[in-house]
C-alpha cells in the first residue's frame, strides 16, 4: 500500500537498542553512554557489547558503582550541552538515584522557569523472569509516570525499541526508557533501517478485533498477542493496544478502542495496587467511555507481592498467556 518501503533488518530487542545508541552517537557527538560495566563487559545484558571498541572509553563510559552520581553526572552534562544516556544496570538500582532523577532532572525545566532543559535518557532494564528475586525484578514504571517532568517509554518489540529510543535521545526532556530484560534476547523482529524516530505519545494497535480490547504494556504486549491468537481459535477477536509511552499517554487511541469493543482487559506486570493500568482504568471510568462498557473493566497485574526466587512462584506472580486467555474469556462471556 505504501509507495516506498523502508528496508528492514531482523534484530533482537537488545540489538535494536544497540542500533539506536550507535546511530545516535554517530549522528550527534553530544550523545554518550555511561553506566556500570557497559564497556569491555558490554553491559549486564550485552546491550552495549562492542560499542567500547567503536566509540572509545570517553563516550562509552564505565562508572564506579554509584547510581546517584551516574544520574547526577548525566543531569549536569545534559545541562551543559551533552545528551547523555545513562544505564542503570537493573532498574531496581534507580532507588539510589531517585533524588537526581525526580528532584533534579524532572523538575529543572519547570522549576527554573524554562531557562534550561535536561535532555537525558535513563535506560532501565526491568522486570521479572530471570530468577533474580525481589531486588532485581521490579517494574516501577508507575513511580515515573507519577512524576511530572519525566517522560516514560516502554517498548514492547525491537522496532519500537529502536524508534522510540531515537525519539527519547532527541527529546529535550528527561526520559525514562524501560526495557524488559526478558525481551532482550527472546524478542526478535523486523526493524526499519535508518534513524527515524517513533514519536512519543502514540500508541500502537498491533491487532484489531471486535470482542474486547486488551491494553497491555511492555512484555505483556507479546503475551497479549499470543493470547489473542488463541482466543481467535475460540472465536473471540481481540484488539490489542500497546501504549508504548506511558507519559505522554495516547489516551485518545485507548478510549476509542475501548468504546469500539465495549470490553477492556488491562494487563501489566507490575503489582496491581497503584500500577499504571489503574490510571488507564481511571481515565476510562471518568470519561463517557464508561457508558460504552458492557462489563466492568478487568485488570490483570502482578501480585501485590515482591517477586520470589522460585521459578514457578515467579511465573505465578505475573500474568502469563493462559491468564490473559482466561480473563479475556471471562470478560467476554460475562456480559
Amino acid at each position: 500500500m505504501t509507495a516506498t518501503k523502508t528496508p528492514v533488518e531482523t534484530l533482537t530487542f537488545a540489538e535494536a537498542v544497540r542500533a539506536a545508541l550507535t546511530e545516535a552517537m554517530e549522528a550527534d557527538e553530544r550523545v554518550f553512554v555511561l553506566g556500570e560495566d557497559i564497556g569491555v563487559y558490554g553491559g549486564a545484558f550485552g546491550v552495549t557489547s562492542g560499542m567500547l571498541d567503536r566509540f572509545g572509553a570517553e563516550r562509552i563510559r564505565d562508572t564506579p558503582i554509584a547510581e546517584e552520581a551516574i544520574v547526577g553526572a548525566a543531569v549536569g552534562a545534559a545541562l551543559c550541552g551533552m545528551r547523555p544516556v545513562a544505564e542503570m544496570q537493573f532498574s531496581d538500582f534507580t532507588a539510589h538515584a531517585m533524588d537526581q532523577l525526580v528532584n533534579q532532572a524532572a523538575k529543572v525545566w519547570f522549576m527554573l522557569g524554562g531557562a534550561v532543559s535536561v535532555p537525558l535518557v535513563v535506560r532501565l532494564p526491568f522486570g521479572s523472569g530471570t530468577g533474580a528475586a525481589a531486588q532485581h525484578s521490579q517494574s516501577q514504571e508507575a513511580w515515573y509516570a507519577h512524576t511530572p517532568g519525566l517522560k516514560v517509554v516502554m517498548p514492547s518489540n525491537p522496532a519500537d525499541a529502536k524508534g522510540l529510543l531515537h525519539a527519547a535521545i532527541r527529546d529535550p526532556n528527561p526520559v525514562v526508557f524501560m526495557e524488559h530484560k526478558l525481551l532482550y534476547r527472546t524478542a526478535s523482529g523486523p526493524v526499519p533501517t535508518g534513524t527515524d524516530p517513533i514519536p512519543l505519545g502514540v500508541a500502537a494497535v498491533p491487532r484489531e478485533g471486535g470482542d474486547l480490547t486488551v491494553v497491555a504494556t511492555g512484555i505483556m504486549v507479546s503475551r497479549a498477542l499470543t493470547a489473542a491468537e488463541e482466543l481467535a481459535g475460540a472465536g473471540i477477536e481481540a484488539t490489542v493496544v500497546d501504549p508504548r509511552t506511558l507519559k505522554p499517554l495516547d489516551e485518545a487511541t485507548i478510549l476509542e478502542r475501548v468504546r469500539a469493543t465495549g470490553r477492556v482487559l488491562l494487563v501489566q506486570e507490575a503489582p496491581r495496587s497503584g500500577g499504571f493500568t489503574a490510571e488507564i482504568a481511571a481515565r476510562i471510568s471518568e470519561s463517557d467511555t464508561l457508558y460504552y462498557l458492557e462489563a466492568p473493566v478487568r485488570r490483570l497485574s502482578g501480585l501485590d507481592a515482591p517477586i520470589p526466587y522460585n521459578p514457578d512462584l515467579e511465573k505465578a506472580s505475573v500474568p502469563q498467556v493462559p491468564d490473559i486467555v482466561r480473563a479475556a474469556r471471562e470478560l467476554v462471556e460475562a456480559g
Binding site: A27, D28, E29, R30, F32, G56, E58, R59, T63, P64, A66, E68, A69, V71, G72, A73, A74, V75, G76, A77, A78, L79, C80, G81, M82, R83, P84, D99, Q100, N103, Q104, V108, W109, F110, M111, L112, G113, G114, A115, V116, S117, V118, P119, P148, G149, K151, R170, D171, P172, N173
Partner: protein
C-alpha cells in the same frame, strides 16, 4: 597571586560584591519580616567572603552549582539583582518566572546552574558539568558550593570520587559555617576539618579562613588552575559562620548568643575594608561610595522586582520543554567572551566545540 586589597580595581569589585550580597539579604530579611515574601529564606549574611572570593577566581564561562543558601553565589557569579528580587517576589520577570523562589534561582547565562533545595543536590550536577566541559574540549571549570552538612550525604562521596578518578575540572567548595541547621559540624564527623575528607579521595584538601576573601580567592585560584590544567578536583573548606538563623523557623536554640556575637566581630566585609584602608588602596569615602552603590542597586532591584508582572498561569504548559528546544542552544551556558578562546584552548576532547555538533543553526 596578587593582593585583592592592594589593587583599586580588585578592591572595588570585591567590596561591591560583598556589600551587594549583604544589602540584598538584609533587604530580603526585612521584606520577609514585613510579610512581602513567601516561603522561607536561607541567608548567608556573614558568609559573603567565600562566595565572593571563590567566584572571583572563575572566568565568566565557568559554571557553578549552588545551594539553598545561594543568594551570595548567585550575585558573585554576576546575576541581575532585579531578576533575583523578582523571583523572590514570585514574578514572571524572575529568573524562574516565579516558579522556583529562593531555593531555585539560577542564571544559566552566567553559568550558575542553580541553587538547590536538596542538600548536596548540586554536587553530582557539578561533576556532570565538569564532565561535559571536559568532553567538549574546553578548559572551562565547574565549581560546586555546598555546606558542611552536605558532606554527610552519599551524593558528596560518590561525586567527589567520580571527579577524582576522571580528573574532572571541578572545584568543591565547602562553606563550613559550623552548623547544618542545628547540627554542629563537630558532631557529624570524627575529623578535625572538613578538608580532611579529601584524603579519602586522594585529592588536595585545603582549609582556609572563609571570612578572609583573599584566602578564599587564593585557594580557589589554585584549585581552578589545577582543574583547568586537567589535574582534577580540589576540596576547599572555607570556615565561616552564618549570623542569621538557618531559615525563617530557626530559634537558634543550638548555639549561644555569645557565639553569634563573637562571629559578628569577625565580619568578613569589615575585615577586608580594614585591609584596603591599611593598604591605602581606597579611602573611607571611596569605600562608602561602593557601599552606597550596593544599597542603591538593591533598592533598584526591589523596585524592579515589585514592578514585575505576575507569572504565567499555564502550569501544565510549563512542565516539558517543547521539542523545538535543543538542549545545546539553551544550555551552552556562558559562552566565552571571545568565542575562539574555548575552542583554541580545547579541541582535544572527543566532542570538540560541541556547539558545532550536528551543524545546527544557533543564534550568535
Amino acid at each position: 597571586m596578587g593582593s585583592l586589597a592592594g589593587s583599586a580595581d580588585d578592591a572595588r569589585r570585591v567590596l561591591a560584591t560583598m556589600w551587594t550580597i549583604r544589602r540584598f539579604e538584609e533587604a530580603v530579611d526585612e521584606m520577609f519580616a514585613r510579610g512581602l515574601l513567601y516561603g522561607t529564606m536561607h541567608l548567608s549574611i556573614g558568609q559573603e567572603a567565600s562566595a565572593t572570593g571563590a567566584c572571583l577566581a572563575l572566568r565568566d564561562d565557568d559554571v557553578i552549582t549552588s545551594t539553598h543558601r545561594g543568594h551570595g553565589h548567585c550575585i558573585a557569579k554576576g546575576a541581575d539583582l532585579g531578576r533575583m528580587m523578582a523571583e523572590l517576589l514570585a514574578r514572571d520577570s524572575g529568573y524562574c518566572r516565579g516558579r522556583g523562589g529562593s531555593m531555585h534561582i539560577a542564571d544559566v547565562s552566567k553559568g550558575n546552574l542553580g541553587a538547590n533545595g536538596i542538600v548536596a543536590g548540586g554536587i553530582p550536577i557539578a561533576v556532570g558539568a565538569g564532565l561535559a566541559l571536559k568532553m567538549q574540549g574546553t578548559d572551562r571549570v565547574a565549581l560546586s558550593f555546598f555546606g558542611d552538612g552536605a558532606t554527610s550525604e552519599g551524593a558528596f562521596h560518590e561525586s567527589v570520587n567520580l571527579a577524582a578518578i576522571w580528573d574532572l575540572p571541578v572545584v568543591f567548595v565547602c562553606e563550613n559555617n559550623h552548623y547544618g541547621m542545628s547540627m554542629s559540624v563537630d558532631e557529624v564527623s570524627r575529623l578535625e576539618r572538613v578538608a580532611d575528607r579529601a584524603a579519602g579521595y586522594g585529592i588536595p584538601g585545603v582549609t582556609v579562613d572563609g571570612n578572609d576573601v583573599q584566602a578564599v580567592h587564593d585557594a580557589a585560584t589554585e584549585a581552578v588552575a589545577t582543574a583547568r590544567a586537567g589535574r582534577g578536583p580540589t576540596l576547599i573548606e572555607a570556615i565561616t559562620y552564618r549570623w542569621k538563623g538557618h531559615s525563617k523557623s530557626d530559634q537558634n536554640l543550638y548555639r549561644t548568643r555569645e557565639e553569634i556575637e563573637s562571629w559578628r566581630q569577625r565580619d568578613p566585609i569589615d575585615r577586608f575594608e580594614q585591609a584596603v584602608l591599611e593598604a591605602r588602596t581606597l579611602d573611607e569615602d571611596e569605600i562608602r561610595q561602593v557601599r552606597d552603590q550596593a544599597r542603591d542597586a538593591v533598592r533598584d532591584a526591589v523596585r524592579t522586582g515589585q514592578s514585575g508582572p505576575p507569572p504565567s498561569t499555564d502550569l501544565l504548559g510549563a512542565v516539558y520543554a517543547p521539542s523545538e528546544v535543543d538542549a545545546l542552544t539553551v544550555a551552552s551556558v556562558a559562552p566565552p567572551e571571545d568565542p575562539g578562546a574555548a575552542t583554541a584552548a580545547g579541541g582535544s576532547g572527543p566532542v570538540a566545540a560541541a556547539a558545532g555538533a550536528r551543524g545546527e543553526a544557533e543564534a550568535p
